[in-house]
């Protein structure tokens, strides 16, 4: 197996130490951080994400791959800074006001970060004003909203309204996710995309930023 294949396997298995060792070794060999992200980390997450979407792997497998990706990224951070690596975009995300659920959002956050995005995860029960202020302050290109319960879907609509009130609708892409959401609901509230899972979120973010999928 090549080092790339070993790295992809380590990430899929949630082998944090193995991931760190392989990323460090690839850096040592002179591979660029961007290559390591795209050829290793993102490839691994795409494999796991696709399997998850197709019902071949489940929450534990998604989580350990996402966490392993995070450990790999930590090793890359100094090299990324040194090479003036430009992240693909800034994503502000949160579970909307009134909702305390976060596991799906956390997987999306880890996946987008591993995919080369700067992710500002504001946590749970986040008021619309805070999400929009952060989008403005950090010049985010994507706002990602999550909810688990039907009654907090109104908070999603409220957040997009607040975004529009700040003059940012159309300038910032909005993606939503969570079990009660649908594509129809996304259209109704003015969101740009509704993702079924972290894999779809990454694919769509890449479409928006012109990155290769």
């Amino acid at each position: 197996m090549t080092q790339w294949e070993n790295l992809i396997q380590a990430i899929q298995e949630g082998n944090f130490q193995g991931t760190e060792t392989l990323v460090a070794a690839l850096l040592q060999e002179g591979k660029s951080p961007d290559d390591i992200i795209q050829q290793g980390i993102v490839k691994a997450l795409n494999i796991v994400g696709k399997k998850f979407s197709e019902g071949e792997c489940f929450i534990p497998e998604m989580l350990i791959a996402a966490k392993a990706s995070q450990t790999g990224l930590e090793i890359l951070k100094p090299a990324l800074k040194k090479s003036n690596y430009k992240e693909r975009g800034t994503v502000v995300m949160g579970t909307v006001q009134g909702d305390l659920h976060d596991i799906g959002k956390n997987i999306v956050a880890m996946t987008l970060a591993a995919g080369g995005y700067r992710v500002l995860d504001l946590g749970v029960d986040v008021p619309p004003a805070r999400l929009v202020e952060t989008v403005k302050k950090e010049q985010a290109s994507i706002l990602a909203l999550s909810c688990l319960i039907t009654t907090t879907m109104d908070s999603m609509a409220g957040t997009i309204k607040t975004l529009a009130g700040a003059g940012l609708q159309g300038k910032v892409k909005v993606m939503i996710g969570g079990p009660p959401t649908t594509e129809e609901f996304a259209r109704k509230i003015g969101a740009d995309f509704r993702g079924k899972d972290a894999y779809e979120a990454l694919l769509q973010a890449n479409r928006w930023t012109g990155a290769v999928n």
């Binding site: 489940f58 989580l63 350990i64 909702d99 659920h101 907090t152 079924k196």
Partner: protein
Amino acid sequence: MSALTPRERLLTALKHQEPDRIPLDLGGFVSTIEAIPFDDLKKYMKKKWETKCFLRDHVDIPEELLVKFGIDTRYVRIKAPKKWKKVIEADNSYLDEWGTRWKKTPSSPYWDPADFPLKNATIDDLEKVPWPDPDDPGRTEGLREEVKRLRESTNYAIVADGPFLGVFEACWVCLRGPEKFFIDMALDKPFVKALFEKVIDIQLRIMKHYLEAVGDLIDVMVVGDDLGGENGPLISPASYREMVKPYHKKLWSFVKKNTNAYLFLHSCGSITRFIPDLIELGIDIINPVQVAAKDMDSKMLKKNFGDKMTFWGGIDTQKVMPYGTPEDVEGEVKKRIADLAPGGGFVLTAVHNIQPGVPPENILRMYEAALKYGRYPIRI
């Protein structure tokens, strides 16, 4: 067929025979109405009933409404332990007896776990945790006498509500937190096993006291453990078999040995891939039959498992009940009856509790349609 008593009706259906009509259920921990839609219903019906709740916002349905709807079940449940009191704090949160913090935010109608007592625990820490006292007498104080009175003075089917969450759900939802626990499932199996051992020991003792009090007086015993999500199982069937199933076997075989009641498993989501295991473990009934989830088509479920499994639930609460017209609700009831009722083995109720936002007209139409179309032989 001449009218059966509610108890006879339910037991006939559970034996996979056709009674006079489909048995109807309302009022359990997983089949009641939440306080907000109940208040809406009261207003609509111009009734002055008290909105009395158990657990969190789960309504104790007034007897008058149960009779009006033709409900065949009556629920009994374990009581609160003496050593624990619900104390709601300034931030609208409280600690349950296991140490989980539950919180209701201003814009949510639900109490949700907000902090987890074992979120940072190591395997050694599990010995030092202040676990609930499974022998607390408060749980069953006076219970036997109450259930005996219900059994002797009525002919309703008596359902013993589940005394706790299933071992898997208790650990990821309440004790450890979802992210940590699902990672443990993959990467720290010794921790998961040690935690499951602790929890199941406590649960077995609680169940022992519960069944000593009511085991010979009940028709159905409820246990629960959510294994599915909207789009599929939460964990792989292989993980389930390796790590969770042995503990389900421990608890459920204990129940089977200590009561003749039918064993009812509440398990949300897409759980089709687990059903053969559940049958093997002696589950007689699955609930809520989340028909909107992946691979949970009611026709397919009946065809593949209907000879061995009773389906209890089935009326969609994700789209039809909240967003449909009363005519849509009637259509939904007809469809599920046609799919699940032939041959018995079906008890009709909503898929889980009726939620805020469900119009009162829809609740009324659900039970009206169930009575209208639920006579055997089914002619839909």
